[in-house]
C-alpha cells in the first residue's frame, strides 16, 4: 500500500480535488475527532488529553488510539500542537517546568502518567527520534550502544556488538559505517546522522517509536531513505510520526490524524484522509487553502 501511495500522490491530490465531498460542512471543531480515531486492541490509547503550558492550553480534549504495528501520521499547520501531543506520549514534556498534562494515556493498558509508571522505564519502551539529528558527540558505536548499556541489555561485549550491528542494519546504515564505528557520529552527513539516531532509538528495542518531523532537516534523497526505513520498521514497531509534509504522511502512514490549533479534527485511513476528507478543515488544509 505504501508503494502505491508513493507513486501516485500527486495525481491523487488532484483527482481528489475534483471528486471530494466533505461530509462535515462546518469549520467548527468537532466535539470528538471524526472518522475512526479508535481501533481494536490498541497499543496506546489517549483519552480526554489536555496539555497546558502555564496558563495557555495547547491541546484540547484529544481522544485517539494507536494500533499495534501501525504507522500513524500527525499532520496540521504549524503550532497546532502535534509535537506537544507527541512529546506527551513518552513524557518528554516532564522536562518542561510549566507543562501539565491531563487526561488518560495508556500503553498496553498501563497509565503512563500514574505514579507507578517510571518515566525512565517508559522512555525505554517508547523511543523517540527528533526533528534535528542529535547524535551524541561520541563514536558511532557508543551512540548506538549507549541505550543498551544504560539499561543493562547486554552483559557481554559480544552481545553489545551484536545489538549495535543489528540496530545499524535495521536503520540501513551498517554498510556505510561498518568500517568506522569508532569515528564520531557527529561527522556523518545529516541523513546518516538521522539514521544513526533511529538506530540509537531501536537499539533498546522500544515498543513504540515517536518521530518528530524526522526528515525536516534532510534533503529529498535522505528523506526517501528514512521513509523506506519507516515502512520496514513498521513490521516490528508501532510508529507515530509528526510531519509537515502531506506527501510524506501519504507515503508512509496507515492512518492520518489532522490537528488544528490544539484540536484533533479528523482521524482516518490515510488514503481516505487524502482522497475524501470528512471535515471541512481537513479538506482546506490538504488542498492547500491554508497551512
Amino acid at each position: 500500500m505504501v508503494n502505491k501511495l508513493v507513486t501516485d500522490t500527486a495525481e491523487m491530490l488532484e483527482e481528489k480535488t475534483a471528486s471530494r465531498k466533505a461530509v462535515v460542512h462546518s469549520t467548527a471543531y468537532p466535539e470528538q475527532a471524526i472518522g475512526s480515531p479508535f481501533v481494536k486492541n490498541p497499543k496506546m490509547s489517549m483519552r480526554n488529553v489536555d496539555v497546558f503550558y502555564g496558563e495557555k492550553q495547547a491541546i484540547f480534549n484529544v481522544n485517539v488510539d494507536i494500533g499495534q504495528n501501525e504507522v500513524i501520521a500527525m499532520i496540521g499547520p504549524s503550532g497546532c500542537g502535534k509535537s506537544t501531543f507527541l512529546r506527551s506520549i513518552n513524557r518528554m514534556n516532564d522536562t518542561v517546568d510549566s507543562c501539565r498534562v491531563k487526561g488518560e494515556l495508556t500503553l498496553d493498558g498501563e497509565d503512563i502518567y500514574s505514579a507507578k509508571m517510571d518515566p525512565v522505564a517508559l522512555r525505554a519502551r517508547v523511543g523517540m527520534v527528533f526533528q534535528k539529528p542529535n547524535p551524541f558527540p561520541k563514536s558511532i558505536y557508543d551512540n548506538v550502544s549507549y541505550g543498551p548499556r544504560l539499561h543493562g541489555l547486554a552483559s557481554r561485549r559480544a552481545e553489545l556488538d551484536e545489538i549495535v550491528e543489528m540496530s545499524l542494519h535495521r536503520a540501513g546504515l551498517w554498510e556505510e559505517v561498518k568500517d568506522r564505528l569508532d569515528q564520531p557520529g557527529t561527522g556523518l552527513s545529516g541523513g546518516q546522522q538521522q539514521r544513526l539516531c533511529i538506530a540509537r532509538a531501536i537499539a533498546i528495542s522500544p515498543e513504540v517509536i515517536l518521530m518528530d518531523e524526522p526528515c525536516s532537516a534532510l534533503d529529498p534523497i535522505a528523506t526517501a531513505k528514512i521513509e523506506e526505513l519507516i515502512a520496514e520498521l513498521s513490521e516490528n514497531y508501532t510508529i507515530a510520526i509528526v510531519t509537515h509534509s502531506m506527501q510524506q504522511a501519504a507515503r508512509v502512514s496507515h492512518r492520518t490524524a489532522y490537528f488544528h490549533l490544539g484540536h484533533l479534527v479528523e482521524v482516518n485511513d490515510t488514503e481516505k484522509v487524502f482522497t475524501a476528507p470528512e471535515h471541512e478543515l481537513t479538506e482546506a488544509y490538504i488542498t492547500g487553502r491554508f497551512g
Binding site: 513518552n90 517546568d97 522512555r123 523511543g127 527528533f130 542529535n134 558527540p137 549507549y146 544504560l150 539499561h151
Partner: protein, 428 residues
C-alpha cells in the same frame, strides 16, 4: 524612472564611501586598543625584568676558612650544645683579618667583618657537621657577601655610577682589592630559590612563599571546584525555578562582587575565632580563598552548562537516561572545558590575592619553609608586599624577582588550563 534609479545608485555610492571610512576607523580603534594593551604589558615586563633579574645573581667572596677548634670553642663535635654555641662567625672574622692584616681600628674591623653575610656562620656550621674531619683544617670557600656589598658590586658597571649607600670608601677599597685578586664574583643565587624569608636580603628566598601558595591553592582548588560544580549542576539541572532559587542566584552574583578583604574578615570571624583553625596556615588561607573563588566558579560553570545544546539532553532522555545519567554522561563532559576555564580564572585570582590573607595572619614574617597545610606560611603576593615594604635597597630587586616568580606561576597555571581544555575538547 531611470533618472531616479541613477540617483539612487549615486546616493548608495556616496554612503558606501562613508560606510567604508567608518569601518576603517572602527578597525583602527580596535588596533589602537590592542597596541596600547600590548605596550602596557611590554612596559610592565621590561620594567620588572630589568629591575629584578639581578636578584637571581648573588655576589660572593672567596676566603680561606680555618676551622679552628679554639676559636669555635668546640672540643667534641657530638656535643650538640657546644656546636650550637660555637662562634662560627668568628672563623669568618679571623679569615678576613688574615686577608687584610693592616686593618686595626675597632670600627674598621667591624666594617671588615660585615663584608660577608652575617648568615655565613650558619653555612660553615652546616658544612662542619656534614664533614667532621674539617675540624682543625683549612679550606677555600665562596661565602655570600653582605647585601650592601652585593648591591654595590652589582651596580659598579652602571652608567650613573655605582650605588654606594652604606658602603664607605674604605670598604670600596677592600672590594677593589678582592676584585683584582679575583676573590669576588657574581654567581647564581641558589639561596633565593631554596630559602624562606629573612631580614637579611642575601639570605631571603622565595621558596617558603611559593610552597605556601602551592598548599593554599591545593586547598582552594580541591574545595571550590567540586563545591562550585555541584552547586552549578544543581541550580541548572535540578533546582525548581522559584523565588528561592532566584534569591540564591542574585546572592551568588552579588558575592562575586564583594571586596575580597570582606572574605578575610569572614574567615577571621568564622574559621579562626569560631572553629579555632590555627592562624597563618595554608588551611585557613585556602578556606578563605575558597569562599572568594566559589561565586566565580559557580557562575562560569552555570554558563558552560547552559551552553550544552538541549538537543543532547533530549537525546539522552529519549533513550531512557535518568536525570543524573544525563548530567554525568553528557552535560558534564561537554561543559567541562568551560568549567575548567572558570576554575583556572578563579585560581589565578586566588593566587594573586593579598587582602583577605592579611586578615587571617598570613602576612606574618615566616622564615621556615612550610611542610604542610597546618604549618605557618605566607604566600607569593604577600611576600611581594612584605619585601616592597622593606627598607634595604637589595629588597627592591627581590621584589621584582618575586613578581617574576608569581607571573611564572600564573603562566604555568594558564598553560595547564589550555592543555587540559584542548585534551577534553578533543573528545568532541
Amino acid at each position: 524612472m531611470t533618472e531616479s534609479k541613477q540617483s539612487h545608485t549615486a546616493i548608495i555610492q556616496r554612503s558606501l564611501a562613508r560606510r567604508y571610512r567608518a569601518e576603517k576607523r572602527f578597525r583602527a580603534y580596535g588596533l589602537m586598543a590592542i597596541t596600547f594593551g600590548l605596550l602596557c604589558v611590554a612596559l610592565l615586563f621590561t620594567d620588572i625584568i630589568s629591575k629584578g633579574y639581578k636578584a637571581f645573581l648573588q655576589t660572593s667572596i672567596q676566603l680561606n676558612i680555618t676551622y679552628d677548634a679554639d676559636v669555635l670553642g668546640i672540643s667534641d663535635l657530638n656535643n650538640k650544645q657546644q656546636v650550637a654555641l660555637a662562634d662560627f662567625q668568628g672563623l669568618v672574622k679571623k679569615s678576613l683579618q688574615a686577608r687584610f692584616p693592616d686593618v686595626t681600628g675597632r670600627k674598621e674591623k667591624r666594617d671588615l667583618v660585615s663584608l660577608v653575610s652575617s648568615g655565613a656562620g650558619y653555612d660553615l656550621r652546616d658544612r662542619l657537621i656534614a664533614n667532621p674531619q674539617l675540624l682543625g683544617n683549612t679550606e677555600t670557600l665562596w661565602l655570600s657577601a653582605d647585601d650592601d656589598i652585593d648591591t654595590y658590586y652589582k651596580s659598579m658597571g652602571d652608567e650613573n655610577g655605582a650605588f654606594t649607600g652604606r658602603t664607605s670608601e674604605m670598604r670600596q677599597g677592600w672590594i677593589e682589592t678582592l676584585k683584582q685578586d679575583g676573590d669576588i664574583k657574581l654567581g647564581l643565587n641558589r639561596v633565593f630559590f631554596t630559602h624562606g624569608d629573612s631580614r637579611e636580603p642575601e639570605q631571603a628566598g622565595i621558596w617558603g612563599a611559593a610552597m605556601g601558595s602551592l598548599f593554599t591553592l591545593i586547598i582552594t582548588l580541591s574545595l571550590s571546584f567540586p563545591i562550585g560544580v555541584a552547586a552549578a549542576v544543581y541550580l541548572e539541572e535540578f533546582a525548581p525555578r522559584n523565588r528561592w532559587t532566584d534569591l540564591i542566584e542574585v546572592n551568588i552574583n552579588n558575592l562575586a562582587a564583594v571586596p575580597s578583604i570582606i572574605f578575610g574578615l569572614l574567615g577571621l570571624a568564622i574559621f579562626i575565632n569560631f572553629f579555632h583553625v590555627p592562624r597563618s596556615v595554608p588551611l585557613v588561607g585556602g578556606l578563605v580563598l575558597t569562599l572568594m573563588t566559589l561565586p566565580t566558579i559557580i557562575i562560569s560553570s552555570r554558563a558552560s552548562i547552559k551552553a550544552v545544546p538541549p538537543s543532547i539532553r533530549e537525546a539522552a532522555i529519549g533513550v531512557g537516561a535518568s536525570p543524573m545519567q544525563v548530567v554525568l554522561h553528557h552535560v558534564l563532559p561537554l561543559a567541562m572545558p568551560g568549567m575548567l576555564t572558570g576554575a583556572i580564572i578563579g585560581m589565578a585570582q586566588a593566587l594573586g590575592e593579598t587582602a583577605p590573607l592579611l586578615m587571617i595572619g598570613m602576612v606574618a614574617f615566616i622564615v621556615d619553609i612550610p611542610g604542610g597545610f597546618t604549618e605557618p606560611a605566607t604566600v607569593l603576593p604577600v611576600q611581594i608586599f612584605l619585601w616592597a615594604d622593606s627598607p634595604e635597597r637589595a629588597f627592591v630587586e627581590k621584589t621584582s624577582a618575586a613578581i617574576m616568580v608569581l607571573l611564572a606561576f600564573l603562566i604555568m597555571m594558564n598553560t595547564l588550563a589550555v592543555v587540559l581544555r584542548k585534551r577534553l575538547e578533543r573528545r568532541w
